[in-house]
């Protein structure tokens, strides 16, 4: 296998006397989609901050072989720029003016925001803002996308739609992704590997691999099985076979 894009080696991190990560090992290879799930406050965001270089580890090593870009849960779009201008910022590395304009239009179309190119973020809905944010992140030449609960501010249906959207975008513009989410179904539907973290100080407790090719449906048997397995690991479902449908008794 090729050298990993991102590698954590016995990484430790903490804030003051609070130990957040203890000896985390992690490798993410090009083209992979890795999801991180775990209890609230266990250190998932901290892992992304270490991966992006925003935080330095207090022990161990973090290596990254690519530029990274983070997609934030709250608005990371610049409110003083229109949607198109935000996406154009993601294309700063493209030197040729005409090529930049072409790609800007392409990415706006990709997230269905072409009619809103001239709108400012505050004139869009939450879901549209997330799509614009995705377009800006994908427009970059970044190999590695770090996403911190990108859809958690959306309602359930919008979340399902964005999930499908992300899966579709990734088939057209393949990227390596590390996704942090509270939504286990989202993790299982999107990822090649789901890493389950322990309580703080966090370690990687378990790894669930999904074999079915992406993009997959939320109801794919592989996804359903993975969800059940992860819920069991988190102690939220008892470890038994998924119950068969019992015949309903009519009194």
């Amino acid at each position: 296998m090729s050298a990993p894009l991102l590698r954590f080696e016995r990484v430790r991190a903490g804030f003051g006397s609070l130990e957040v990560l203890r000896d985390v090992d992690l490798e993410v290879h090009a083209g992979e989609f890795v999801a991180l799930v775990g209890p609230s406050g266990c250190g998932k965001t901290t892992i992304l901050n270490l991966a992006s270089g925003w935080l330095a580890p207090s022990g161990g090593r973090v290596e990254r072989a690519s530029r990274v870009r983070m997609v934030f849960q709250q608005d990371g779009l610049f409110p003083w720029r229109t949607v198109a201008e935000n996406v154009r910022l993601g294309l700063r590395h493209v030197a040729d003016e005409a090529e930049r304009a072409r790609r800007e239009a392409e990415f706006l179309a990709l997230v269905d925001l072409a009619p809103f190119a001239g709108h400012y973020p505050h004139q869009l809905s939450g879901g549209m803002r997330q799509r614009a944010e995705l377009a800006r992140a994908l427009a970059g030449d970044t190999g590695l996308l770090l996403m911190d609960e990108p859809f958690s501010s959306l309602d359930y249906l919008a979340r399902l739609r964005m999930r499908a959207e992300l899966a579709r975008l990734l088939t057209e513009q393949p990227r390596t992704v590390v996704l942090v989410t509270h939504d286990i179904e989202e993790a299982a539907q999107l990822a090649d590997r789901v890493l389950v973290l322990s309580e703080r100080p966090a370690r990687i407790r378990d790894e669930v691999r999904l074999q079915a090719p992406r993009p997959r449906a939320a109801t794919d048997p592989d996804v359903v099985r993975a969800v059940h397995h992860i819920l069991t690991l988190l102690g939220l479902e008892s470890d038994r076979e998924a119950p068969a449908l019992a015949p309903v008794e009519v009194p």
Binding site: S52, V68, M70, F72, G76, R92, H93, P121
Partner: protein
Amino acid sequence: MPARALRGAWLGLVGPAALVAVWAIVASLRLFPESLFPTPLAVARGLGIELRSGRLWDDVVASLFRVLTGFLLAVALGVPAGLAVGRSRWAREAFLPLVNFFRSLSPLAWIPFAILWLGIGDPPAIFLIFMAAFFPVVLSTGAAVASIPSVYFRVARDLGLQGSERLWQVTLPAIAPQVITTLRVTAGLSWLVVVAAEMIAGRDGLGFAVWDARNGLRIDLLAANMVVIGVIGVALDLLLMGLTRIPSVRWGYER
């Protein structure tokens, strides 16, 4: 939109029209001697006299020049100072108490020093306006910078925006709405201060005209100059309010 703006402009005249009507009625009742309470007509005539003699125009130009110079100087130095203070916690803790001290000190208290140091005319008035506007600009720019959500700087870092690019494309646009609001407040403050400054340390300007009319017991001219001062104050604010309609700052007012 123009129709609504036009209606707004017309409605804005209702208040002044009502005021003049009440004023005319009270004046016609002759409750006060005419030497203490001018009629609207006398004031309008006074305005005509001042306009024809060319003096009003000279006074307006003198006052506006002082306000613009002092105000622009305060903004040109205050915004960078605010950026420095807002960016560093150290600078904030070291300088904010001082800035607050001077901000709380009425600029009118500086009038004696202004005259002692700078004599009369433009310099003391500009100095006083600067003292009135500089500290609020520093304070609110600093507060605005300190409260920029860190997510914008993280995005800037991911996008490779650094140094002056980061300043012009992230920091300044992020504080623009708040700074514009401060400009409106401090421009109004400067206009208040110039009148006071000219009354004491001036030989021309609208403030001096008010003082001069009072000394000459010309209450018609006195009131005429007051009307002009108020109207220009409103016009200045309208002008600066235009800044809030720039599309790239609308987000700051619509959330």
